[in-house]
Symmetry: C2
Subunit: 512 residues, 2 copies
């Protein structure tokens, strides 16, 4: 008996035909685990529908690479006799009938010997933007609607899907309830000014404009955190994977105007270390899932190998890609074995100072206490510890209003300065990447939160509902968030997050 | 040995303490299946953190109902001795230490005899909007941030979470890849005029306004379908559960300005019946999952019973609620056993005409051919067949540009009129509900699609990317969409979909 691995959907098509005589062999159920196709004869007729990824036409025979996107693996089709491959080019969609037989060629177990071929959709090879050769990432981004047809983007989309499922599973196993937090909002989580506002509110200059759709100015959410705290103070553990928006003109490879955030909140958490344990546990468990033996994990590893191989060609991703290819295993291994380093902001500055002192040419001077840590220094810290690093207890002045202050006796002991107030927060830094996640304990005491809101000159009336959460049955709680594209980018080794999202939007770019 | 079922998170807290001496019994792993808490002694000290759902204080003893939102089940706490319950009211959060013991009261196996009690967050019972009594749905909507604390809304949120997981599992089992389709877009799926536009495009009247963030007018998506077709023509099967928006001033119980849509597309599908098989199979499988024996399904059934019991009190949901309570089993049974009825629009009109003829007082006159079917008639059709009904092949003039026309020989045969052009589409109608889903085969032939776009006077340049999908390797395909809140509403029997979403937004309402 010969067996072969083909894309599931391809194999499902094949199964439809084979099932007439082969039901007992082939009805694994409609399960994705059924990735092995048993073959007993090479005379059964099968039907395959797929796109042509490449074609080699000789005088009396043509070889076509068939793929339907269900996995990275392709099936080779063999068309014997002259002229059979007419109208077939890279990108053409075809319906084929034939027989599967043991392949004489390298790289596959079986091939499809085609008896009957029908072109479903032609593809003009002169005009088709998706050529077989490696294409610049920028060109592909301008053709986002066709980019899915590249081996690389198809693999990235499957990886993104698998990663989300792994996280959803982890959250369910740990009793977090997924909440669809709102996109339209009047609240402003971070005090960020750069939000997309909704057009339906008439400008003050034109009081005769039609009645606005909503009575208050409305914009697109910049973070689900504040909204997520409300169900958390009823359900204990909640999370969301949902869109956020920033109207920042930032053009870096790590910023998008529309992106997904994975955000979680948990009630009853009183210690920062307790929160870090949850975050670290989640990341480690999800990375370990990726080395599992289920269909999802196996397909993901195949797809990761594809991505690593492909993006070597793209200049923009080069340095990280090489790193990634060499270390595809150690990339994960680093995360899944040793505990993440934990150090305070104050200690991180001391460490940076000593690194600078030893090597002033390669390490720039550390920030002064109270200033932010640069991306360069963040990467250096993670590199120094050769693994993920939690930097905790940043200066209060650097962080949003809702974070819980560190008890002053602890701050004093750590900073040796009565001025240096810090908050119970963390940034999680990854080697060769920088910031991956961030979170904090939240100020759950009503008087203290009110005091901060007044001190910062924020409008209390905008936060009445948020204050209510502290007014009625408040509990210590905390949470964390991770840019979803950053996670997918890190896992795939793709430095530019525009390449891990289906239709990227950034300043000046919202085609389609 | 006594066992009891308590909320997972409650039991997790209990486990933490018990584990010192009881690890072998209690370490089921961090699995949600661990809903049974084995007890061997009633002398172990446990710690419980929860909110008080109700309190009955007597002279020398107080009984408190404790819940942490991880399931609908509460734990009874017993505080012996006078004054122990000081500061405790409905809504207070507490940390308790005590011993679990066999309960003498009714309604629970065990109770917590409290040795030490600490109030974490007080709750002023005079001011607290969430009173123990049944509250009007409208009042709860105005307190959406606190509404999660009602037994009913907490149950709805857990049901919504479980339903999404069941659908995600089904799609994975059937090899659909989840895609995060964009929210910001320049494309307009349905030709709907009522969209929320983004404020960053300067009005034509003010050409000196700062440079817009995006070069083209941008709005919030009304449907992910067009975008989903792009990856489908590369990955074969895709779907999304993501937000959509309509700036419609509709105030009905079935419309929101921000809502989630479950939308799926599949390539290689050439027949409408094939598409209906997929839709019907998905709905039936997911409904059958709900009767499963896993923790998720068991908890969902408990929560459904809670919702059915609670919403009898709310006037707005009354008629459907009674129906639902009586038929909680048959509600699902109807769906999961017999095949869904399939009939064409033309046949549906004939049936309505004959029903009207037999009973002109109770059934209003059917629409003329070419007119839409009213909600009243939709419900009647589903009621007539006592189960879900696919109404297929609507007049072309009623449906969007992208739907595949029915071959003319079929239309002629069905409508007996050469004028009556129809499209390969369906609406799925549910008893006591009306429209649940809709879908169609898509026009995949470039010249035909171009012809329609021109005929309707649409701007071709806005659809260039969509046309590209047909230009290069096009394949027959189709898809369907379901309003997620409608699905959750139908499952829970909640007629007003504002009550199945965390923070509902509709005309005039976008607090928070």
């Amino acid at each position: 008996m010969r067996t072969t691995t083909v894309g599931y959907y391809l194999s499902a098509n094949i199964r439809t035909i084979l099932s007439t005589g082969r039901t007992t062999l082939l009805t694994h159920g409609a399960s994705s685990q059924a990735d092995k196709l048993p073959m007993q004869q090479n005379t059964d007729e099968v039907e395959v529908k797929a796109w042509i990824k490449s074609i080699r036409a000789h005088k009396n025979v043509a070889f076509i690479e068939l793929n339907d996107g269900s996995s990275a693996e392709s099936l080779q089709g063999v068309l014997k006799g002259g002229g059979k491959a007419e109208g077939m080019t890279n990108g053409t969609s075809v319906k084929l009938r034939g027989r599967l037989q043991q392949s004489k060629g390298q790289g596959q177990d079986v091939e499809l010997v085609v008896d009957e071929a029908m072109v479903l959709g032609v593809c003009d090879s002169e005009l088709y933007p998706i050529q077989k050769k490696a294409l610049p990432a920028a060109l592909l981004r301008e053709n986002a609607h066709l980019r899915f047809r590249t081996t690389q983007t198809a693999a990235i989309m499957r990886i993104r899907d698998a990663l989300a499922r792994d996280w959803h599973d982890w959250f369910e196993e740990h009793n977090f309830i997924h909440i669809h937090t709102p996109i339209l909002t009047g609240s402003d989580c971070e005090g960020v000014g750069e939000v997309f506002t909704i057009h339906d509110h008439p400008p003050p200059s034109n009081p005769t404009a039609p009645e606005p759709f909503f009575p208050h100015p409305t914009h697109l959410t910049v973070s689900s955190q504040l909204h997520l705290e409300a169900p958390t103070l009823a359900l204990s553990r909640t999370y969301t994977l949902s869109p956020s928006f920033r109207a920042e003109p930032s053009m870096t490879s790590r910023h998008l105007s529309e992106f997904y955030m994975l955000e979680a909140e948990l009630a009853w958490e009183e210690s920062l270390d307790g929160l870090l344990n949850i975050v670290e546990g989640g990341i480690r468990d999800v990375v370990q899932k990726a080395s599992g033996q289920c269909w999802r994990s196996k397909r993901m590893r195949e797809d990761l190998a594809i991505v690593a191989k492909c993006h070597l060609d793209a200049e923009e991703h080069k340095s990280l890609a090489i790193e990634q290819t060499r270390n595809l295993q150690s990339h994960f291994y680093q995360i899944s074995t040793k505990p993440f380093t934990r150090l305070t902001y104050t200690s991180a500055l001391q460490l940076l100072a000593s690194l600078h002192h030893s090597s002033p040419t390669s390490v720039s001077a550390p920030p002064k206490w109270g200033e932010g840590i640069s991306t360069e220094h963040e990467k250096l810290l993670a590199q120094h510890f050769n693994g993920p690093v939690f930097v905790t207890r940043y200066p209060k002045s650097l962080k949003p209003f809702y974070m819980l202050p560190t008890p002053s006796e602890i701050t004093l002991q750590e900073t040796h300065s009565p001025e240096g107030e810090t908050v119970e927060c963390f940034d999680l830094l990854f080697p060769a990447w920088g910031e991956m996640a961030g979170g904090s304990l939240r100020e759950h005491r009503l008087p203290n939160l009110l005091h901060t809101i007044n001190r910062l000159g924020m409008k209390k009336e905008n936060y009445d509902w948020y204050l209510d959460l502290r007014k009625y049955g408040s509990v210590p709680h905390g949470g964390w968030g991770m840019g979803w594209e950053r996670w997918v980018g890190w896992v795939t080794g793709l430095n530019n997050i525009r390449d891990v999202v289906a239709f990227p939007r950034w300043k000046g770019h919202c085609k389609y």
